[in-house]
């Protein structure tokens, strides 16, 4: 399954160009092509400066989720601090004080929904880049055992 095609020019330039194509076209085949062209072991890892198309797409999901998460976790309590009156009114039907509900029920539930959303998006991203986890896990596990033993002994 290792399929990094070799190229002689600098990988950064190549990666960028492929990425542009991917985001412009948005066609799965293009993304998969970019994936095939990317040498992941040669691309720098820096959360503030993603260097591969995949990482850039991934981090876009990560940061979007993170921003919503920050609002869900600390938004209600901050609003309660700023405007205690409106935030502590009793909710219709449920009877909760609003701030209490948003914190006790809203925050955990938001995290759960966000986690589900992220995992779905991440699977979709893998699909877009033509990555299949199921086959590789099964087919390579046999050979992997030897490798682990080698690693563990050192």
């Amino acid at each position: 399954m290792t399929d990094n095609s070799s190229h002689d020019s600098g990988d950064n330039a190549g990666g960028r160009a492929a990425d542009d194509a991917a985001t412009d076209g948005g066609v799965a085949a293009t993304a998969a092509q970019a994936h095939n062209d990317t040498d992941y072991l040669g691309a720098e890892v820096n959360i503030l400066n993603p260097s591969t198309p995949y990482m850039r797409d991934h981090l876009r999901i990560v940061w979007t989720g993170f921003a919503i998460w920050v609002l869900a976790v600390w938004g209600p309590v901050t609003l309660t601090r700023l405007a205690p009156g409106p935030m502590t009114i009793q909710m219709p039907i449920l009877g909760f004080p609003l701030h209490y509900f948003l914190v006790a029920f809203g925050a955990p539930t938001s995290a759960l929904i966000l986690a589900f959303w992220y995992s779905r998006r991440r699977d979709a991203l893998d699909e877009k880049y033509g990555i299949d986890h199921a086959n590789v896990t099964k087919s390579e596990s046999g050979t992997g055992v030897a490798a682990t033993d080698g690693g563990a002994d050192e």
Partner: protein, 586 residues
């Protein structure tokens, strides 16, 4: 010393709780413990791979349950409802901090850690930063976390066992009923752990999760139904009750400031992402995709209890006020009574004794499951990271397992001693461990995973800073409670701005800055290390037993296909990498 300890002891027997030997609940708990031991025995381990990471064979749902059981300790089962009942709105920090942190873990660390594929948290730190010193600091931190965290568990188990087994004060000379139970329950836990190891622990955790969640939710429904509080969804129906509970229950910032609220949640969240016994769960799954989805499942299983806990607290508070005395004001509900409010609510609702026993047994299952995860992580830190990697590199598997078991016994003894006169509530005791994980380990995981230039010097400086800063509020607030002549806190101002339970809000940014600045001021890590980090982020699937290091080191095809590029990189960083490799040669 004697006066204060006497005072503490009488404080530790929860008022209103029916403390006596009860036959059916006792049989229930003992057969539950027997079941754990049997499962542990059936899945007992003889080799280290199974001992630590369960052979990397655990699937989605099972790992989700294990995440849940591992996670939900006496602090979730008992301590959280206690804090919500006593501290009101501030008590909700635990509900928020201990659930939402999983999302951060998921998006930043879960799959990457699985790809890294090493045994333990200190393994990651040691291998990522090429340093045995870093590994040792991480191992000591892991051990310390297990110790601090488990104190709360021992307290919870002992309090609940009082309901089931009764008061045997004096059975062990000098110890009161609560303390006898601490010794008894910790002995059982340690015995079970030394026999079973991680495989037994993981198999058990699915069972333990089932027991604890059924006991908790059934308890909630039964209390709500029989007392007329709720019908089908007590998790939402308790809202209508809040206005009758007294303003202390829900009024924002009544017992604590906005700052303390934010600091505590922050600390609990980053602690979640740095706790070794949580992180090791991602090493046990079969693939990185399983790592992601089992996090979602795990969070769902956790939420079931966390949605229910505030409802339980509300019902318990109301029942206490009706049957025992006012919950708030003077004297109010004592802290020992609040710690068992979940059991107390079931008892005050006059549910049958076997049923109250079941609720209590759930608390014990929760505590044992978490202590299992903690002690396995702590003992593997000692036997795998310090003993095998640093002290005796030729250690046989037999020696490793022996050292592992000895360190479990040592952890158990330390925890028992500290739990005899615990310094704080269950939830707070556990919170201190979160501050530590968030101050020391989370920054290393985050920067180590997401910034390839983070290096050994940066990690050493960062972890040392984190440990030092974490210990300051601990010395200020906690240590004095164990020393008779001192009064906590030593400095009230420090306790206000750097509270022990929320200290990561201060320490984490400092540790980040220290690590980054020192890393930038010193040489970059070797190319091999960088390639391992890159492999952790590559979307390319990996084999079940593969680690990032394997792929980078003996992936012959990889090197070949890299072709010119690898040479380019090597040329650019060649000198430095060679220098590092020589210096870091282990």
């Amino acid at each position: 010393m004697t006066r204060s300890s006497l005072l503490l002891q009488s404080d530790l027997l929860p008022e209103a709780l029916d403390i006596s030997f009860k036959l059916v609940p006792a049989i229930l708990v003992l057969s539950m413990l027997g079941l754990f031991l049997t499962i542990g025995f059936v899945f007992r381990v003889a080799d280290t791979d199974n001992m630590w990471v369960a052979g990397r064979s655990i699937g989605n749902l099972e790992n989700g349950m294990a995440i849940g059981a591992n996670w939900m300790s006496a602090a979730s089962y008992l301590g959280m409802a206690a804090s919500i009942a006593l501290a009101g709105f501030y008590g909700l920090v635990f509900v928020v901090g201990w659930t939402t942190g999983y999302f951060i873990l998921l998006i930043f660390l879960a799959a990457q850690l699985r790809r890294f594929g090493k045994y333990t948290a200190p393994d990651f730190v040691g291998d990522r930063f090429n340093s045995d010193s870093a590994r040792a600091i991480a191992a000591v931190t892991t051990f310390l976390i297990g110790f601090v965290y488990a104190i709360g568990q021992a307290k919870g188990m002992a309090l609940v066992s009082l309901y089931i087994f009764g008061d045997y004060g004096g059975l062990i000379p000098g110890l009161d009923g609560y303390q006898v139970m601490v010794v008894f329950m910790m002995t059982i836990t340690v015995g079970y752990l030394t026999l079973s190891g991680m495989m037994g622990a993981t198999k058990n955790q699915a069972v333990q999760y089932t027991i604890l969640i059924v006991a908790f939710v059934a308890g909630l429904y039964a209390v709500g139904w029989t007392q007329g509080y709720s019908t089908v969804l007590p998790q939402l129906e308790y809202g209508a009750l809040i206005s009758q509970l007294g303003s202390e229950f829900s009024e924002p910032f009544a017992s604590s400031s906005y700052y303390l609220w934010v600091a505590t949640t922050f600390s609990l969240i980053v602690g979640t992402c740095g706790l070794p016994h949580v992180l090791v769960r991602f090493y046990t799954v079969e693939s990185e995709r399983t790592a992601r989805w089992s996090t979602v499942w795990g969070l769902f299983f956790i939420c079931i209890l966390y949605w229910s806990a505030p409802a339980f607290a509300a019902f318990g508070t109301d029942l206490y006020s009706q049957n025992v005395g006012p919950t708030y004001g003077d004297p109010g509900m004592a802290s020992a009574a609040s710690e068992v409010i979940v059991v107390l609510a079931a008892q005050l609702a006059e549910l049958p004794q076997w049923f109250v026993g079941l609720v209590a047994a759930g608390g014990i299952a929760a505590a044992i499951a978490t202590v299992a995860g903690l002690f396995i992580a702590g003992s593997s830190a000692i036997s795998h990271d310090i003993y095998t990697n640093i002290i005796n590199e030729d250690a046989t598997q037999r020696q490793q397992i022996l050292v592992g078991r000895l360190s479990i016994v040592a952890l158990g003894a330390l925890t028992t001693l500290a739990a005899l006169n615990p310094a704080s509530s269950i939830a707070a005791l556990v919170g201190y461990a979160f501050s530590l994980a968030g101050s020391v380990l989370f920054p290393m995981f985050f920067l180590g995973m997401w910034w390839e230039n983070a290096n050994r010097q940066g990690a050493l400086a960062g972890m040392t800073t984190g440990l030092t800063l974490w210990s300051i509020p601990m010395i200020n607030q906690i240590v004095p409670t164990y020393i008779g002549s001192l009064e906590a806190p030593l400095s009230a101002g420090l306790a206000q701005w750097m509270p022990a339970i929320g200290s990561a809000l201060i320490t984490l940014p400092i540790v980040f800055v220290v690590t980054i600045v020192v890393s930038m001021a010193t040489d970059e890590p070797s190319l091999e290390t960088k390639r391992i980090v890159r492999q952790c982020h590559s979307p390319e699937p990996m084999g079940q037993q593969e680690t990032a290091e394997d792929v980078v080191a003996d992936g012959g095809e990889d090197v070949a296909t890299d072709g010119g590029r690898a040479v380019d990189d090597a040329a650019a960083e060649g000198d430095r990498a060679d220098g590092d490799a020589a210096a870091e040669d282990r």
